[in-house]
Structures are given as structure tokens and as C-alpha cells.
Symmetry: C4
Subunit: 208 residues, 4 copies
């Protein structure tokens, strides 16, 4: 059982996040999925295949941390397990956003297999938790895309068990996953990642 | 004879689509034309030369599948026959959108004569009907531009008779045609194509 | 003497054009100036130095075709004579817009001295008057920038006397002038030029 | 003591500036900080870490020109001293804006250590005070980024004592500082700088 008022609050936060992310062009063509934690065992998550710029609370359902629907006949996002793994591993995580921008897609295809996305020297790295200087290196992994979501969920679980301090990851040709203690933190991380992706691509455009 | 309520609904869908597509910059300077099916023999379609971001239902008329006006003295889009061919070939098609973005225009001029636009490995290919994996190849033809629309309509008819499973095509220096069972499907296809065009151009910008 | 109702209508058209052009990023930082004809001897034109996205009718004054203020103590745009020359040469011109976009600025600096801006094969060339096919060449001149506006006005006058069929020109590092029979026509020309500038720059980005 | 009505006016100007700058993408992810002068000894400045697109007057506090809070328990922006130095050096400055755009960030990283950002031949250079022709050269310094803000504040103080006529500066990987007699002037300078940054980057994209 979950608290219904927490569900309503989480659903509204997801609806609002969708409008913002869609308007920025980061969740086109019914791509992307979003979630927010209700309690240690339940999350609210977007129903599969909905237009992210026009979500209503009807487009947000509840699943447990195994990805099973709770009090709902709807089908949750095909990538639900990528969300639940993060809530299992990180007890403080309150929101997870998967976005699907042009920049994340292009960059994730340009990075060679097995290599991470890396940046350094950007003041905006301070937007991520635990970073208090531009003077370090931010590294996030790039996973190969697959339609086998349970397998990918396990790969991310293993990776994060060995790399606990990570604010996000990319899936090749598929986009960004990032998370935070609150939806507001999580949205700040999306903005910071998109900023860094755009900076890196702009640099590549003028520097080859 | 056609059902007038269906006309009103289709006209409003076209008006709303125009506002969206114009605001994205995909239908500038009175370019583009849009249509929606009313029944097996009639479509609603934009009147020639109107501003696509400020359409009213006055800017939408009815034509039969030969492109002849029905109950109207207005002149339909110069490219009406490119629409009617699609409704003739594909009985399930309910909406056709022709857009005219910078990205579609530039890409269509860069592709060599006779070659298609091709992409593979993008998760967003799943936005198109019948595609359930990133792991295939999307190919759409690029037709040479001409002011002889009946001739171009016949070329597209022949092509689609031999390539029935296609979500769209480009005309060189002229833009995109795409279609769907509903206007919502069709708008999703426009967004997905524009996403893929932008990804391909961004990759070319940084990888030459 | 001029008709005050025509003034009010023209001033509102200028205010609305300013909001549109500023929102597109084509008139930043109080750059640009706009005008509309009232009668054979008078035009409404923007007052010098105003924010183009927040014009009110207070920011629009009347000048005669020599550029002298009529019933106003305000100072008209420093480039007023570039407008009045066009109204003198072209009796059918009802509106003139000077915009100052990044694309127009960059392209105008890349074209070599004495050469025009040229495009061909774009369907959108049909947005200009008298063009009914993509299959021609659009050529517009690029004038060297100067702070001596009377001298530049005379250079444009001479040029247009020998090249009567022109929809616009560029000033190097300074932007676009275009005109039309109505403000709506003129705005369509701005959109078409910006589309073509963006197409040409995008092509240069990926094709060097 | 400061005049509370001046505070309220300054705070509202800062709130409005934030909405504009955030919407343009120039203050993402809680980056940036803004201030406005109340009197010779006090400024209003943004509280540390707030979302710049959703500021309210609750997010604006008062500090003296040594950066100490006045009638407030809040913590002002970590970069407060970079603001107060400018108000100390320039008695006519009424507003200071620090923005954090992709273009400013990328350009500031591309310029070699010790070299300034320089442009010439742009009509828009006239947006800056004392510039009445495109025919000069605009030079602004690029300071190395640091988390030691007092030290950076002293470096900027020394630099401006020897270069009094400057409309702004960059911090490498960190963004733009610019100022003006009024908030409106200051916003015009941000727009002009962003225009010039975009022009220079666009030129680099197509000209390497």
C-alpha cells in the first residue's frame, strides 16, 4: 500500500517535468520516461507511449520496485526496470528522468565502445552533488543499446555497485538517465548534462 | 457528399497542427500543406498560400481523391495530388503532413541523386509503425523536385506500389512528406524525422 | 498631412512585427528598424534606439520621403534614408524591414567584396514575388557597411535603378533589408531569407 | 541603511532579468548571479543557488560593497565579490549580470591563456557605451577560472583600474560578466555579447 497523496504530488511533478522537457526538445515523439519515489517500495512512473509534453495524471501509474503495477491495469514504460534498479541501489534517490535529446543521442554514438563520456574544467560540473570545483573530471558510462531491458538493468546495477558516485549514464543512440533526491534536483541534472553535451558538441564543431 | 462534423474536426486538427509546426520553424513563409481524411473519398486540405502558424478553419477546404474541390470555390494547395495519391494507396492513412524545415531541405540536397536517406541504430526509429527495435535500417526515398506536380504524384505512386512499408519521403530542396493513421501519429512521425535529420546533420558537423 | 488612422494601423503593424522579429532573435539589443507606408509622401518608422520586442505605438513616428520628421519631436532611426529610398524607387512598396540576425551577419561577412549572395534550387525561393519555380537563381547584393548613411542610401538607389527586380539586400556585418507590398509580404520575405541563410550556413558547416 | 522602495524595485528588475535570461538558456541549472545598485553603499543581489527562471523577491537580498549581508540571514551568491568590485570601481554602474551560456563557455575555453576575446567590424558593437561605429575593435579579457573568488575579485579590480573602458569580461569555462548604468542597459549588453559570441562561433564552424 502507498500513500495516495504522495502519489498525487509525484504524478503532478512528473506531468510538470514532462511539459518542461518536451518544450526543450529533450523528449520528442513519445520517447522518454520519468518516475518519482513514493516510499521505499513504490514509485510513480509514466505509462508507456504517451506524449510527454501533454501528460496528465492519467498518464502516471504506480509500480513496486520489481516493476509490477500496483492498483492499475495500465502498462508502465518499457524501461521501468532501468528506473527501479536505481531506486533499489540508491535509497536517497527520489526521482529519475530518462530524456532523449539530439545532443545526448549524437554524443553517445560518437563515443567509442567501452569508453565513458568525460568532461573537465566546466564550472557547471558543480551542479552535480558532491562537486565543489570545476577542477575535477566528470565521467559517466555509455551502455550499448538493447531491447532486452532486464539484461540492461542488470548491467547498470553491476556498474553502479562498483561506481556508487555517479549522477547519470548514457545509452548509445538512446539518451540520458539521471536522478536526484528531488525532482527539482533531477531536473537541474538534466539541464547540466544537456549544457555539457552542447558545449562538447559545439567544441567539436569548431575544433576538428 | 461528406460528413460536415468530420470536416470540422479534421479542419481543427489541421489548424492545430499548423500552429505547432510553424512554431517549431518547420513550415516557414507560407510553405507546407496538410490534410486529413474525412471518408474513403474525401479529404480536408489547406488552401493554397496561407500562413501555417495562423490557420483558421477558413483556410481548410475539402477535395475528392482526384484533387477536385468539393463545395468550395477556394484553390487547394498546389501539391494536392501528392496528398491524394497517398490516401488512394494507403486505405488506413488518416492524415498527411508536408513540412519544409531547414534540416529536411539541407539533407535532401546533400544526398546524391537516386540514393535514399538512410539511418540505423537510433532508438527513435521505434516511433514509426511496425518498428520495434533500434537494430534495423530506415530508408526513405528522395525525389527530385519539380513544378510538375501530377508527374511527381505519379512517380510517388509507382514507388510506393513497390515499397509499401514507408513512413515518409523527401523532395530535394523542398522538404518532407509523412503520414499516419491519425493526425497524432502523423505529428509523431514529423517529430521523429526531424529528430533523425538533426542527429544526422549534427554528426556530419562534427565528423567530417 | 497624412491620414492619422493609417498611421495608427501602420504603427500597430510595426509593433507586432517587432515582437515577432525580436522573439525569433532577428532584432537583438535595440538593433533593426522598421517602416510602413502611409501614402505616397509619408511613412511610419521606428524611433531610434528602442527595444524592438517591446515597441509601443509611442515608438513609431512619421517622416516624409526625405526623412524629415512630421508632427514629431522624436529622432527617427539613424538609417531612415535607407528606408525612404526604397519607398521612392518602388511605388508599390508598402513596408520595409531591416533585421539584424546572426545568420545574416555571419553570411554577409563571409561573402567576398563585390560578390552577391546567391542561391538556387530551393523551393522556398517561390516565397518572393514573381518567382514560380525553384529552378532559378536568387541573387541579392551585399553592400559594405558604413556610418555614412546618406552615402549608402545613394549607393542603394543607384543599384536598384539598374536592378529593379530585387527582394532584398545585405549590409556586411550589419544585416538584411527587405520589403513588400504589405507588412505581411515583407515578414514572409524575412522568413524566407532567414530560411535560406540558415540552409546555406548549415550546408557550409557540413560540407567544407 | 538603504531605501526599501529602491530595494523592491531592484529586486523586481532582478526577478524579471532572471526569467528572460533563463528562458534564453543563458542561466541554466541554478548557475548565474545578478545584482542592482540601491545607493553608493548597497546592492541587491541574488541569494546563492536559486533557480534563475523562477526567482521571486524572496531570492534577492541586500549586501554592502564589502559583500556583507544587510538585514538578512540569507547567503548571497558565492561570487558576490565579483559584483561589489565593479560597483566600487565604476560609480555609474547600476546593474551587473553574470550569465553562463553555452556560447560564452565554449568560446572562453577556446581562447588561449592570456589572450582576450576580440571582434571587429560588427555593427552591433554599437550596442556598447561610447561605441559609435562598427569600425573599431572590441577586446574583453578572459580570466582563468578559480574557486578562490576573493583572489579573482582582486585580479579583476587590478585589470579594470588599468582598462577603465570595458563593457564585460569572460571567465574560462564559466561565463560572462557585464554591467551597465541601468538593468536595461545591462541586458542589452548581454544580448550584444551573446550575439557576437554566436557570430564568432558560427564563423569558426564554417571557416576552419
Amino acid at each position: 500500500m502507498f500513500d495516495v497523496t504522495r502519489y498525487a504530488t509525484a504524478a503532478q511533478a512528473i506531468v510538470d517535468a514532462g511539459r518542461f522537457l518536451y518544450d526543450r526538445g529533450w523528449s520528442p515523439a513519445t520517447s522518454s520516461n520519468y518516475s518519482a519515489r513514493l516510499d521505499p517500495d513504490h514509485i510513480a512512473i509514466t505509462v508507456s507511449g504517451r506524449h510527454k509534453g501533454r501528460l496528465s495524471t492519467n498518464d502516471v501509474m504506480v509500480v513496486d520496485l520489481n516493476g509490477n503495477p500496483v492498483q492499475s491495469d495500465a502498462k508502465s514504460s518499457a524501461e521501468t526496470l532501468l528506473h527501479t534498479v536505481l531506486y533499489q541501489i540508491y535509497p536517497d534517490v527520489g526521482a529519475v528522468l530518462h530524456t532523449h535529446s539530439v545532443k545526448a543521442t549524437v554524443l553517445s554514438r560518437l563515443i567509442e565502445a567501452g569508453a565513458p563520456f568525460e568532461v573537465e574544467g566546466y564550472e557547471l560540473q558543480k551542479a552535480f552533488p558532491g562537486v565543489d570545483s570545476h577542477d575535477g573530471r566528470l565521467r559517466i558510462p555509455v551502455f550499448e543499446n538493447t531491447q532486452d531491458i532486464p539484461a540492461l538493468a542488470e548491467r547498470t546495477r553491476e556498474w553502479f555497485q562498483h561506481h556508487p558516485e555517479q549522477p547519470g549514464y548514457l545509452i548509445r543512440g538512446h539518451g540520458l538517465y539521471t536522478w536526484g533526491e528531488t525532482m527539482e534536483d533531477c531536473l537541474r541534472h538534466v539541464e547540466a548534462f544537456e549544457f555539457l553535451f552542447e558545449c562538447e558538441l559545439e567544441t567539436m564543431r569548431v575544433c576538428r
